[in-house]
């Protein structure tokens, strides 16, 4: 830093904190996926296929998650159905 820098605007955006926040979110998300069994994406696909036969749904509106609590696994299925016309 030279003498000229003192005349410049000293306010700097703390981009490091943005980086940390983004990393914490993506890393937590990816760790969650890491513990899921391999069959989960295909399971999700087949569930979507079956439901699509009867109802028009958006792929984004289907969430499949597997939770492990002690010695019990919970398969959670969350589907948002479209509003009735």
């Amino acid at each position: 830093m030279s003498i000229f820098d003192y005349f410049r605007d000293r306010k700097k955006p703390a981009t490091a904190s943005i980086a940390k926040e983004r990393l914490q979110i993506i890393v937590a998300h990816e760790r969650g996926q890491r513990n899921q069994p391999d069959y989960l994406p295909q399971l999700q696909q087949e569930i979507i296929d079956v439901i699509s036969k009867y109802v028009q749904i958006d792929r984004e509106q289907v969430h499949v998650a597997l939770d492990n609590q002690d010695d019990c696994s919970i398969l959670e299925l969350n589907i948002t159905l479209p509003e009735r016309p």
Binding site: M1, I3, K12, A16
Partner: protein, 269 residues
């Protein structure tokens, strides 16, 4: 009992080979018989960093295929009697490494060496997988930068699932080595700090290597940077090796060096 240490990162260009060379040399200089194994088949560079590129006759794949034995293949470092290099093959492709072959060679190395340092290639393909599979400890090299931190976390996931120890229900000892650290940019809020990266990856910190001109100077000459004991990076690596051996050392080079009045005025470096 020999210890296998893998130096890994996921992302390329963060300093795996520099680190493998420095840690391997540091262990050898402290009296441990050490071999550094280059797993980057097709893109070998450990020989250049160690300055033995013109002495490569046989390579890792030759040993696996039985074309040569370890005595013919290992290159003895000219600076330390305790240090040997097992170069990767430059011509074969990655499929030349087989799990059985790698395990056989590592078992043979275990008979004579105290430490086996495995220099992993970038990525998560076969070479990287085999470099970590047999490891007892892992040094995860990370730059304070988003893509490197994310890739390191991915490697930690693989270490916890796709390694021999993990499959046996045990845990590999993990170490975080933060490289290319720039305290000035951290102070300005432009770079993730040590504690930021520790928070995200949550593994024990082995060392912080400052961004340093000494690293390029050392690689230009084919000398491991740890040999440059006057440089900040060399000293930081030396501290990291001591910690790897179980010593408790304070972390250095984390703070911005205070500049003198003249440097402040004229912006000298």
């Amino acid at each position: 009992m020999a210890k296998i240490i893998v130096v890994t990162s996921g992302k390329g260009g963060v300093g795996k080979t520099t680190t493998s060379a420095a840690i391997g040399t540091g262990l050898a200089l402290r009296g441990y018989k050490t071999v550094i194994v280059d797993f980057d088949v097709g893109l070998r560079n450990l020989d250049l960093i160690m300055g033995c590129e013109r002495r490569v006759v046989y390579d890792f794949v030759n040993v696996i295929n039985g074309d040569s034995n370890l005595n013919q293949t290992l290159i003895k470092d000219k600076r330390s009697d305790n240090l040997f290099i097992l170069p990767a093959s430059q011509t074969r492709d990655k499929d030349a490494l087989t799990p059985e072959g790698v395990e056989r060679v590592l078992n043979e190395l275990k008979e004579t060496f105290d430490y086996i340092v495995c220099d992993s290639p970038a990525g998560i393909e076969k070479g990287a997988h085999l470099a970590m599979y047999f490891a007892d400890e892992a040094v995860v090299v990370t730059n304070p930068e988003v893509s490197s931190v994310r890739d390191s976390d991915r490697m930690l996931g693989l270490l916890a699932s796709k390694s021999k120890h993990a499959e046996a229900g045990e845990k590999i000892k993990e170490h975080l080595l933060l490289t290319r650290y720039n305290p000035e940019r951290v102070e300005n809020g432009e770079m993730l700090s040590v504690s930021d990266v520790e928070d995200i990856l949550s593994i024990p910190l082995l060392g912080v290597i400052p961004e340093s001109q000494a690293v390029l100077k050392a690689s230009n000459q084919g000398v491991p940077v740890i040999m440059d004991d006057k440089s900040d990076a060399g000293q930081a690596y030396a501290d990291a090796v001591e910690r790897l051996l179980g010593k408790d050392m304070p972390h250095r080079f984390l703070e911005l060096q205070k500049k003198g009045l003249l440097q402040r005025l004229f912006g000298g470096r």
